[in-house]
């Protein structure tokens, strides 16, 4: 279904007990485009990403990802999604290579892909060290490898460059950057950088959309108010 949008949200909401984490979020994102989701801590950015990743069920509204309605067809979407969240989803007592080999087995992928990816992010010499012994930047590079290992169509990136120095950021750019043609949803605490690489920008305030606009249609005041 390549003609369908990558993401279609209609009035999506989500609660955690009494607290409303997301309310009435509607977005239409074409395939290959990048959506930047901005907002303060607790604005609902990570909740939105987890709904798109099929890890959370929406409590209201409709969600379609890559042409499949969620959560009903979650199993069809999962192989096409790569989630890079706050947690690296890596076992601290395994090495980076062992972690990636485990994920390769879950996705039934050849394990030689692991070596290629470790090399791509400059981790080939530290790939056999336990994750707990690595710096946060190195762990983030491994998490990027895990995210793209199965070549997902849709990348869900929650502050993907957190803990990365400029050199490491350059290394992961071909894997998770805008140039690879994948649809991306990314959150960032650096609104300027996020807007630069976005085709569409969603601002969230207390779980509700403050604005949804193309970068050219945004004025600096709107973004500033979001963080006020």
């Amino acid at each position: 279904m390549p003609d369908t949008p990558a993401i279609e949200l209609r009035g999506v909401g989500r609660r955690f007990g009494e607290r409303t984490a997301l309310k009435e979020v509607s977005v239409l994102l074409p395939r290959g485009a990048t959506l930047a989701v901005l907002g303060r801590n607790g604005a609902g950015k990570s909740t939105l990403l987890r709904i798109l990743a099929t890890l959370l069920r929406p409590h209201g509204g409709e969600v379609e990802v890559l042409g499949e309605p969620l959560p009903r067809r979650a199993f069809a979407v999962r192989p096409k999604i790569g989630l890079l969240g706050h947690e690296p989803l890596l076992y601290r007592d395994l090495t980076g290579r062992e972690n990636l080999q485990y994920h390769a087995r879950l996705y039934r992928l050849p394990e030689d892909k692991v070596d290629r990816l470790l090399e791509a992010v400059g981790m080939e010499l530290r790939g056999d060290d336990a994750v707990r012994s690595l710096s946060r930047g190195m762990v983030q590079r491994l998490a990027v490898c895990r995210t793209v290992l199965h070549e997902p169509e849709l990348l869900l990136l929650d502050e993907p460059r957190a803990n990365l120095d400029p050199a490491a950021s350059d290394l992961v750019e071909p894997l998770i950057g805008g140039s690879n043609g994948r649809t991306r949803v990314l959150t960032s605490h650096d609104p300027e950088a996020a807007i630069k690489e976005a085709d569409l920008v969603l601002g969230l305030r207390d779980g509700q959309p403050a604005f949804l606009a193309q970068p050219g249609g945004l004025d600096a005041r709107q973004v500033k108010e979001l963080y006020a």
């Binding site: 099929t54 069920r57 989803l89 087995r105 879950l106 039934r108």
Partner: protein
């Protein structure tokens, strides 16, 4: 099957690297036998009493191990990683239950000879094949229920309390059947083979709970 093997391999590797579960189970069992040894204040025990002591000790050690089964998944994001993968979610149940079964088998290699030395009166040798059969069936039930209960408990804040509170009542039938099946094997002039009736009950219990766990495990992982 490949998913089960992938998860199992990862779990065994983690245990071999951290030794967080098995040593705790073994130390608990050995300490319990020592406490019973002094608590009974008699040279040796046999028969139904011995079977009860062995079974209860292994059951509590199993609950101790079960409490650790999903800790890495919860604390290090293993659940999310697994849920994102295009795999049958019951593979996690099967892999964890097999890992638990292996932990219990290794534990018994240490604990049963220690039990023979510290507490048991009659020699264990001639009855060992029968006892192994009984313990294998008991381990199957402990592994399935332990995994199931641990998967429920890990979703709660008070997981260390929830696992025994739910697990112990569910395991009472297995405890009774195991103790009754092992009793004659540990008696001074007992039979060399366990009573068929209790073996059948234990096997039936294993099958029923394995089916229940398999049927509902998927829902435990849902948001």
């Amino acid at each position: 099957m490949s998913t089960v093997l992938a998860v199992l391999r990862k779990d065994l590797r983690l245990e071999l690297r951290t030794f967080e579960t098995l040593p705790a189970m073994a130390l608990f069992s050995l300490s319990t036998f020592v406490i019973f040894h002094f608590g009974f204040n008699q040279a040796a025990i046999a028969g139904q009493l011995a079977a009860g002591v062995l079974t209860v000790t292994l059951l509590f050690a199993a609950l101790l191990g079960a409490g650790r089964l999903f800790v890495a998944e919860r604390e290090q994001g293993g659940f999310d990683a697994f849920l994102l993968a295009p795999v049958d979610r019951n593979a996690l149940l099967v892999a964890k239950a097999v890992a638990m079964f292996i932990f219990l088998a290794v534990l018994e290699v240490i604990a049963v000879p220690a039990f023979g030395l510290l507490l048991l009166g009659p020699p264990l040798g001639p009855r060992l094949p029968g006892l192994i059969a009984v313990l294998a069936l008991a381990d199957l039930g402990l592994a399935v229920i332990g995994t199931f209960v641990s998967a429920i408990a890990i979703q709660t804040r008070a997981r260390d309390l929830i696992a025994p509170i739910i697990g112990l009542p569910l395991l009472i039938p297995a405890l009774i059947a195991t103790a009754r099946a092992a009793g004659p094997l540990l008696a001074a002039h007992g039979s060399g083979s366990p009573p068929t009736k209790w073996i059948a009950i234990l096997a039936l219990y294993d099958v029923v709970f394995a089916l229940i766990a398999y049927a509902v495990f998927d829902y435990l992982l849902e948001d």
